[in-house]
Amino acid sequence: MSKHIMFHGRECPHCRAMMPLVDRLIAEGFAIEKLEVWHDEKNADLMRSYRPVIAAKCGGQLRVPTFLNPETSDAVCGEIPYEKLKEWASS
């Protein structure tokens, strides 16, 4: 199974809303690494390094939360229903 990254912000309400869904997927065996980007510049730089991939899928900007599959360079962002996120993480 591919390893995924969730880029999130500590004070982002969308990110906060998605956390229980992400934790549920992790509990089900999905490999999702959660990286906070506003209080960790290393994580922020990593997210910036994926700007072409992320911006293309997220309104031309770096938005959080962003879910990234580094292997396939696929990304989705924002609040997503659990089933949709699971389907994306499974593909």
Binding site: F7, G9, R10, E11, C12, W38, R48, Q61, L62, R63
Partner: protein, 142 residues
């Protein structure tokens, strides 16, 4: 085209933009602005007040900003408090009240687009939607 500084020769208001205001919004005198240097603009502004803008000040400012518009500040106070926490943290750590639901690119001009309030009217989460909102949900359509 690059923005320039302009000073009202009557009341010393400073404007930053492509063109000067035709009528000074403070003293109402017409054709009163002259182009000045950034150094002069900074000097005209004088020492900035400390400790600056509080969360309560900003909250009040966005309520006033929203009042005549077709959007309002989200009545979900828990959400607004969290967003303000993030914006003020970003101001302290990164210089400006950047949206906590996006990430700055480190390109100053580009990053001005994510300072709150941003121009969310053009965002796909707002434009053309009956229940539109800015990306972070601070502002929602009435």
């Amino acid at each position: 085209m690059k923005k320039k500084f302009w000073r009202c020769f009557v009341c010393n208001d400073v404007h930053w933009g492509f063109k000067p205001p035709e009528i000074c919004p403070t003293c109402k005198v017409a054709h009163a602005y002259v182009e000045i240097s950034a150094k002069e603009a900074k000097a005209c502004l004088g020492p900035l007040p400390e400790p600056g803008f509080t969360k309560a000040d900003f909250r009040r400012a966005i309520e006033v900003f929203a009042a005549p518009n077709q959007f309002k500040v989200n009545p979900d106070t828990e959400r607004v408090d969290l967003l303000l926490e993030g914006m003020f943290s970003n101001e302290q750590n990164h210089g400006l009240r950047y949206c906590p639901c996006r990430l700055r690119s480190k390109d100053f001009e580009e990053d001005l687009k994510i300072v709150c309030p941003c121009n969310f009217l053009i965002h796909e989460t707002y434009q053309g939607l009956e229940k539109g909102e800015c990306w972070c949900g601070l502002f929602i359509k009435r």
